[in-house]
Symmetry: C2
Subunit: 319 residues, 2 copies
């Protein structure tokens, strides 16, 4: 029938090329797929809203890639391997076809980079801002998922990469911070999910999560889930050169959008961690330790005094 409604034609044009095994070409009521024997399903969902999680005039391909990557970061934090995703897209009725083309091109680029494909979803109109939701699927060996609840007093606190670039990148993208090289803005717009590292950490990290709501707040989640206290040495927190130049340490420690891994590593596993980090090409840094005590995060300044920090961040459940 050539009087296919425009919305369906748009799906066929922009989204069907992104679909893969199990998607049934996006033409059925649901995707149907087999999970490999001896693997468990790891699944998470995150939403992003224009004006809240991205800037309304951000390039659509970067919006798409950030949406996919923030979800991939959750899969990385579980030590799982991603394979597919479902996507719901609510956009103003007047959104031009070129927006969808660019959005899909961003997804296509990251599908190729991360080995995932589109399984299904929904497009709707909205009288409000662009609102996106993505559900990411991966698999993990039974019992191998890296949980938040396993940290013990004596474990070291480790992070991958550098902390704070995303939060400073948001300031830069808003024109509130100089970013001559564009490094910080890139880090805000295009997170790097640490899949290569995460999948190597089963049996090495006793606990892990990704840093999305700010280092201090997210470390607090581990403390609550594990029943331990945590102490960070502020001077040990790895900052990129642009973040160091910005001189906004507190913002780096409490801002969000890092998408680095935050890990609990027993001393006996440090060598294994460093070996796997080297093999994955992602640096890791020890920034503190877990301690006996009520769940609490203490940040020590270079002189040993406690830095008072506000808390904040976004909410999410099992993100």
């Amino acid at each position: 029938m050539d009087d296919l409604p425009a919305e369906f034609a748009r799906i066929a044009r922009h989204f069907r090329p992104l679909s893969g095994p199990g998607s049934l070409d996006l033409t059925d009521d649901a995707a149907v797929l087999a999970i490999p024997p001896n693997r468990e399903l790891a699944i998470a969902a995150d939403a992003m809203v224009a004006g809240v999680h991205f800037l309304p005039d951000d390039p659509p391909d970067l919006i798409a890639r950030k949406l996919l990557r923030t979800n991939l970061s959750d899969i990385a934090a579980m030590g799982a391997e991603p394979f597919g995703y479902l996507l719901t897209v609510s956009v103003p009725a007047a959104t031009p076809d070129a927006w969808f083309a660019a959005f899909a091109a961003g997804l296509a680029a990251d599908q190729a980079e991360f080995g995932v494909h589109l399984l299904g979803g929904d497009t709707t109109s909205t009288p409000g801002p662009i609102t996106l939701s993505l559900t990411i699927l991966g698999t993990v060996l039974p019992g191998a998922a890296i949980r938040r609840s396993g940290a013990s007093a004596g474990d070291g606190i480790w992070v991958s990469g550098t902390i704070g670039d995303g939060a400073l990148g948001l300031l830069a993208a808003r024109g509130e911070l100089a970013d001559p090289t564009g490094f910080l803005t890139d880090r805000y717009r295009l997170p790097q999910p640490r899949l290569q590292l995460g999948r190597r950490l089963a049996g090495i990290a006793t606990t892990g999560m990704d840093v999305s709501d700010g280092l201090v707040q997210d470390l607090g989640h581990i403390c609550r889930a594990s029943g331990v206290a945590a102490e960070i040495d502020a001077a040990a927190v790895p900052l990129s050169a642009p973040a160091r130049a910005a001189g906004m340490l507190e913002r780096c420690l409490t801002g969000g959008d890092d998408y680095e891994l935050l890990l609990a590593i027993a001393p006996a596993r440090e060598a294994a961690l460093l070996r796997e980090a080297a093999a994955s090409g992602i640096p890791v840094t020890r920034i503190g330790r877990f301690l006996r005590g009520a769940p609490r995060v203490t940040v020590r300044a270079a002189d040993g005094t406690e830095m008072p920090l506000p808390r904040g961040g976004w909410s999410h459940f099992a993100q």
Copy 2:
């Protein structure tokens, strides 16, 4: 830590009680669960936007239940068994706690009715209308999923329940149609996913989908997927007494929100269909037949002439 941000406390209060096996208490980066051996995963996602898919002042519990049920309807249409879901909720920052309490109560009621539980998700704020996305998970025997692509010339076209109540219920909810008993409004606000029937139809229905975008448009999807034409006898389409009284046949045939099953049944399988429909307590009605020919839906009036119908509806991919 007792300075847990309010958003996390809200999740703990309203959403954690809805969580179940695999959710890891909604405190981890992803849910992790085993799919039973010899079952495939069926998975679909749908979004709903205030002012588009529901009325902004609809009761929150009914919004929640409609969101869950429209997704369950997709699982029913695949002949699968639902077990869990992920949910993303974007709401204005000023949304009162009572809204979340009522929303969660609606989910709890339908979780009990349909045997599903919350696996994970995300809550965010939005400067726009309430926007919800739900990803439903179910399982199905390998190869048993009811697809859209299996209809053959000679198969009968069947529907469950009655058609058009949802579209008329929207008019009634808007005050544009009298609905003295509230039947139509209820049908709009609280779809009945045909899970009991759907799961019995593997091996009986050659093709199936749920009617969400309007009978004629959705039948067109089957025609395209199966490479057949379809002819409906308008007088055979089952209408409820209130829908019949409203005298808006065209609206019933093309409106959305039915969430009934639309099936292709070979003549040799009709007896089996009727037996399973009786066992499930859901009536089914033969409304036409598939024919050889290019994908096209013809609706015949009682006098045999073709009814000209506009097409329309919402878009969705693999909803």
